[in-house]
Structure formats: C-alpha cells, structure tokens
C-alpha cells in the first residue's frame, strides 16, 4: 500500500503499521525506485518498529520477516520471562554448577560485565532481586523492609558471577542470583537485526526497539541521516534536541515510564546497584554510540552515574556522546557531553507529535 509519493520532505515518519514513500535511487547495484516501508511487531516486552527502503513490497516483506525472525531468535535466547530461553536455563543451573553456553550468549555476558567493571558497578545485570524487592517486576512498587533489602543485596553483584572464557561457563557464587539482560538485550537485538538487513543488501533502515533504542543504517535517500527527536522527560510532544543518526545508535532511559510515589518522594525503576535503591534526581539520559548494545547499556549507566562520573567514563569511549536531564527541587536542567544534536530553542521548535522518531 503506497500512501505517499515523490516526497522530498519526508523528514518525518508517522507511527502507522505499514506505509511507503517513493524515491528514485540507485541502489543494490541497479537503478530502482525505492520505497519506504515500515512494520511493527511486539517483541521483548515492547514494540519493535523497522523502517526500510526496498524496491517493492515483496522484497520488504521478506526483509521484515527475516529481521523479526532474528528478534524472536534473540528473545528466545535472552528472555528471562520464557522458561525455554537460554538465559532462563543459565539462571536455573548456574547456582549449582558451572553452566556452558554458546559463544554468542557468553560474549554478551562478558560485554555486560565489562560495562559493570568500567562503571564500578553502576551497570549490573544481576540487579533482578533488587527490582523484585522494590516490586517493579510485579508492577507493585513499594519500599522494601530492611530484611527484604538485605536478602536482595546478598543475591546481587556482578563480582559474584564467575565467567570462564575457556570453557564458556557461568557460575553464580551466591544463592538466589539471576541474570537480567533488560538493560542491554534490546540494544543487542537491534544490532543483530542491522546485521541481517545489511546481509540482505538493505542500505537504508531505521530499527526502533520500543523507541528506547534506535539504530540508523545509512540515511533516507537524499538525506543526511535519520531524524530523531529527544523529547522532554515524559512529554513526547515537545523535544529538547534533534539529532541526525547515520550508521550509529541512540538510546534513552527515563524515570517516567515505571515509578511509584511514597511520602511525596518518587521512586523510579532504574536501580543503583551500588546502593540497592532507585536512582534519585535523574529524569532522562540519552546516549549516542556506534552500536545499539553500547547505547542501551550506557543510557542506563549514565542515568545511574549522573553527569560528573558518567562523562568521565565516556572519555574512554570514542564516538560516544550523551545528554542528561536531571532534576533538583522543582527545576530540571540539561547537561551534555560531546552532544552533536541541535538543542530545541522553544516550544514547537522541534519534536511536535508526528515529527521525527521520538525516543524515550
């Protein structure tokens, strides 16, 4: 179904399930008319949307199927909701014996623990028991008792997980531990989908994992990049910055999606593994980096670390930039690290609903 044509100004993308714009463009070794197609499907606890340019619907359909099959494959490996997943198998067995896994899963676990090491534990995939103690898994947020918190903290800590690269084994050195790749898995899936699209010959695509992690492959024909709007925290109709992405990724973490209030204080779902408590004073962080895996992990990490410590960590990471929105008393303020995006000057300057791909 073609809903638009010959558009030279399609810097914006509506959120419908399937649509197309036409472009004359030399691609895939032959001159062909490329159209923009889009498809969304539920996966990994959110909705993935893929935009791509293809010569016709049949080609796009095959590419979408292949891409979503890859997301399903990753979810079947990394989900901690599915008992049949590889991660669930590891969680069941690693407390009692060193558990072998395949190189792909092992590498991702190593990458995760590398972020833990470099961030001094601000990023930690063992944080699940704390999330449970605070009631975030059952959407029943509450302040845990001292005993609950103490029990949870005894089962959390990346240093309590033993990885053996020679045997590709994982071993938990404390009871009750579990791995939760919620802070990095969607970004990893985005990267793998990009691989699949590249192998299929796709030159221009945007992969969007629930709007929190995006990767831009190439750029729309005739454009410099894929336009992404970073919204005000909790307000998708107004932007704070506009970014053009091209062969890089952007992720946003925010405190406004899952939280509870108690005695006038707001507790968000992003946990500081080092204190065992939800992060305070941060509203939103957005990171741009070369891969979805990196931005997904780093947006959470920057949220936990804040600007001062976070920007210091980013000094060691090339081609990485970030923007923080923090709150103090009743005011919010923005801080940036090598941020290349254009800051929105006023209400309506950028990011009105329907313009650009919003991230959160």
């Amino acid at each position: 179904m073609v809903l638009g044509s010959n558009s030279r100004n399609n810097g914006f993308l509506a959120g419908s399930l399937c649509f197309a714009f036409l472009f004359c463009h030399a691609a895939r070794g032959q001159s062909s008319v490329l159209q923009l197609f889009s498809e969304s499907r539920p996966a990994m606890g959110t909705t993935f949307t893929i935009y791509l340019y293809a010569p016709e619907r049949a080609t796009a359909d095959a590419e979408f199927d292949s891409a979503f099959d890859e997301i399903e494959r990753i979810e079947e490996a990394l989900s901690n909701y599915r008992p049949s997943s590889e991660l669930s198998r590891i969680n069941r067995l690693a407390a009692t014996a060193a558990t072998t896994t395949d190189p792909e899963v092992f590498d991702l676990l190593q990458t995760s623990f590398d972020y833990s090491r470099r961030s001094d534990g601000a990023f930690d995939i063992t944080v699940g028991p704390l999330m449970r103690a605070w009631g975030f898994f059952r959407k029943n947020g509450h302040y845990p008792t001292r005993a609950e918190l103490s029990r949870a903290r005894a089962s959390v800590g990346w240093k309590r997980v033993e990885l053996d690269p020679q045997q590709r084994t994982i071993k938990f050195n404390a009871p009750g531990m579990e791995l939760d790749l919620g802070g990095i898995g969607k970004g990893y899936a985005v990267d793998r989908v990009i691989d699949v699209l590249r192998e299929a010959g796709v030159k221009s695509a945007l992969v969007d994992a629930g709007s929190s992690t995006l990767y831009a492959l190439g750029a729309p024909p005739g454009k410099e990049g894929w336009k992404v709007v970073v919204p005000r925290p909790g307000d998708r109709s107004h932007g704070i910055s506009e970014v053009l992405l091209r062969n890089n990724s952007l992720s946003t973490s925010g405190s406004y999606e899952k939280f509870f209030r108690l005695n006038g204080k707001t507790f968000c779902h992003i946990m500081d593994p080092r204190t065992g408590e939800p992060v305070q004073g941060m509203l939103q962080t957005t990171v741009i980096a070369p891969s979805g895996t990196a931005t997904d992990a780093l947006s959470t990490t920057m949220f936990v670390m804040g600007f001062a410590a976070g920007s210091k960590l980013l000094e060691s990471m090339p081609n990485t930039s970030a923007i923080w929105v923090a709150s103090s008393t009743n005011e919010s303020h923005i801080e940036q690290w090598h941020w290349s995006g254009r800051l929105c000057q006023s209400t309506g300057d950028c990011g009105a609903t329907g313009e650009g791909n919003s991230t959160r």
């Binding site: 080609t59 099959d69 395949d102």
Partner: protein, 406 residues
C-alpha cells in the same frame, strides 16, 4: 582407550534422560565431541548455537556450497573453523564424531547416507527425505551402519509434549479420536535474497520449490504429524489433501496453504492445516479425547475438561440418604471449558526443545545409546509427510499400503 575406541565395542541402550545438563568443568578430554555441519543456513546456524551450549562440544568443520555461510558459521563458533565446499572432502576428516545434516530436504537422502557410510553419527534435519523410497533407503542405511541417527524433530523432546503424551497414555482425556493440528502464519515464508540476485533465489528460498522441498507439510507439519503418529501408535492408513499457490503468486511452486486429513487405524483422524495469510490460530495441536482435550503449542501445553458429568456410579448415601440440598441457583454463566489447566513440567525437566534434543544426541554418542527420535520415528514421520504431499499433488485419496511396507 578413549571414548571413540570404547564406544566402538559398546552396545548399551538406555532411555534418554531429557534433562538439562550443566556441569562442564570436569569433563575429561576424551568426552569432547567434535561435530561438523553440512548446510549451516538459517536452521543449521541455530543448531550450531544450540549444540555449543552442550558441555564439551566443538565444531571441527563445516560445509556449504554458498560461501557467505562460512563467515556466518565462524562467527557462531568463535574460531576459524575449517570449511569445505564439497561434502565428500569433509567426510574424510578423521577427527569428527558426528555430522549435522541441515541441507534442503531433497538432499537429505544423499547426504545422510554418505555420512553414515563414512562411519559418522548423524543429526539430520526433518523431514527425513522427500520421497517414500528415499525414507526407506535411509532407514536401511542407518540399520546397516550401526551408527546413531537422530531426526531433528525437536518437539519430540519438548517437556510439555512429553507430559502431554504421558497424560494421554494414562487415559487422562479418555479415548483420543481426533487431532486437529495447525501452523498458521501471516507472512510470505520467503527469505530475503541478497541484493535481489536472481541466481541466489532457489538457493536461499529452496523451501518454495518442489525440486528441493516438501513445502508446508514437510517444514511445519512434520512436527505435528510426528506427535500424532506417537499418540496413535504408528502411521496412518490413508490421506486426502488439498492446497495451492493461491495468495503469494510470486513464482513459488510449493503451496502457500495446505490441508491434509489422515485416517489412522480404528477411524482415528489427524487434520493438519498450514496457511500463510492469518495467524489467529497460530501453532497448536488439539488432541480431542472422550474425556477432555489437551492443547500443545510451541511453548506450553494445557488440559481442558470435557463438560460431561455423571460418568461414574454414585453411592446411594450421597444423593438418596443425605438428600439433595436446595438453594438459590443464580450463578454467572459457567464457561464451556474454562481457562484450562497448564501442564506442569516436573522440576529439573524444563528446558528448550532444541537444547534438549541436541543434548540428548550428544548423550547418545557419549553413552552409545539409541536416540529417542531414531530412524523409525523419522521414517514414520517422513513417509506420512511424503504421502500427504502426494495426496495434494494427485488430488486423490492415497492408501499407505499401496506405497509403504513396514
């Protein structure tokens, strides 16, 4: 004496355990199992990842006629695995215990037979072969070789399938009379061809061409057919079928929708449907018994009671001597069959079907025990698939006795 020498003379047969295994650090070097794969395409690569989750497994070699698969497969093994373009060169390698055959269906017979002849165990993707004759030849080749052959019907190892079979066998749902099985999708079943290169179309999309493929009955239906064969205790007596290329008219040859009805001894029936234009029903098998229904899907199993009361004798003391109690009768309307009750998989028996199947195959090699999904299971399923397709192609009722023997 290492494991390979020891197993050469051993003949132990034991039941498959179907359990997850985790201990890896104490495996002796002789317990390392070296695998190779012929056809590391989409399914083959998933098998590689899964086999590498089993302790002590390594991929020593791989083979494909499509060279881009080499790098893809090496990314999975994490090493510079030897690669061959001709499978006959791979077969002469001395350091390989077993070979995975994950090639297009039409090549299974040639590849599996050659692997067995070369003295290797085989994990062969389903379905067994394209034709009834090839299925018979492969079953004979396995028997002659003395090697293990496991068919890639991973749901044979799914814990909830095993639990369903246990309940059905124990009479939980009474006498099973019909099985309704579906694999409904809403996509083209077409894979993207790199750069839309027409030379690669049949190589990448072999499932869509009859020269290579048994279509939806083979690629999807084989799982359900295998389950029905196990429930009904063997192969059907006859089949009728229909199907066609009715929606995705893109040059494909295999039907984009199929419906086959198999009749088993005693008038028991399996109906299988696969479509590619709607996924409302999804993937499920409904086992209909006189005392209840069990539904198995890709992820779980559920039992539903049959709302028929009064089957058992009632002691007089219950209703006659104590009397019947009266009261208000208003209740919200009772659901016909309720939400069902999930089949509970015993602790320690959970797991992913692919992992359990791969782990079980490696156990078969290490302990020299016959795979659960062996050549007979494969043959039963393979000929049922092949004759289902024959019925569709010939638009006729096909009697199994006219085509298969034993």
């Amino acid at each position: 004496m290492n494991r390979r020498e020891f197993l050469g003379g051993a003949a132990a047969l034991a039941a498959s355990t179907f359990v997850e295994q985790s201990s890896a650090t104490k495996l002796p070097a002789s317990d390392q199992v070296n695998l190779a794969i012929i056809g590391p395409g989409s399914r083959g690569q998933q098998l590689m990842r899964t086999f590498l989750r089993v302790p002590g497994v390594r991929f020593a070699a791989l083979c494909d006629i499509y060279e881009p698969r080499f790098d893809q497969a090496r990314r999975i093994t994490g090493e510079n695995t030897r690669a061959f373009k001709d499978y006959r060169e791979l077969l002469s390698a001395k350091d390989i215990d077993a070979i995975i055959v994950s090639t297009p269906l039409s090549l299974h017979s040639e590849h599996v037979t050659a692997v067995l002849d070369s003295g290797h165990h085989v994990y062969g993707e389903k379905s067994m072969a394209l034709t009834v004759e090839e299925c018979g030849q492969m079953r004979d080749a396995v028997k002659k070789s003395g090697k293990h052959y496991q068919i890639g019907l991973q749901y044979h190892y799914a814990p909830w399938y095993r639990e369903a079979i246990r309940l059905i066998t124990s009479g939980k749902i009474g006498q099973v009379t019909q099985i309704y099985a579906y694999w409904h999708r809403n996509n083209s079943w077409r894979r993207p061809v790199p750069n839309n290169d027409p030379k690669l179309e049949r190589l990448i999309n072999w499932r869509l061409y009859r020269e290579f493929s048994g279509g939806l009955v083979a690629e999807l239906g084989s799982h359900h057919i295998n389950f029905a064969n196990e429930v009904f205790g063997g192969i059907p007596e006859s089949v009728v079928g229909s199907g066609g290329v009715d929606f995705w008219k893109d040059g494909r040859e295999t039907a984009d929708n199929v419906q086959v009805t198999y009749r088993y001894p005693g008038g028991k029936t399996l109906f299988f449907s696969a479509i590619t234009t709607n996924r409302f029903v999804g993937c499920q098998v409904q086992v209909c018994g006189t005392g209840g229904t069990i539904v198995v899907t890709e992820a779980d199993g559920t039992y539903y009671y049959e709302p028929k009361l009064g089957a058992s004798a009632v002691p007089e003391g219950l209703a006659v001597e104590h009397g019947v109690v009266t009261g208000a009768s208003y209740k919200a309307e009772l659901p016909y069959r309720g939400q069902g009750r999930s089949l509970t998989v015993p602790a320690g028996r959970q797991g992913n079907p692919d992992f359990l199947a791969c782990n079980s195959f490696i156990e078969s090699i290490r302990k020299n025990q016959r795979p659960k999904a062996d050549e007979q299971v494969a043959w039963n399923c393979g000929v049922t698939v092949a004759l289902g397709n024959y019925a569709i192609d010939h638009d006729a009722r096909v009697k199994f006795a006219d085509h298969v023997h034993g």
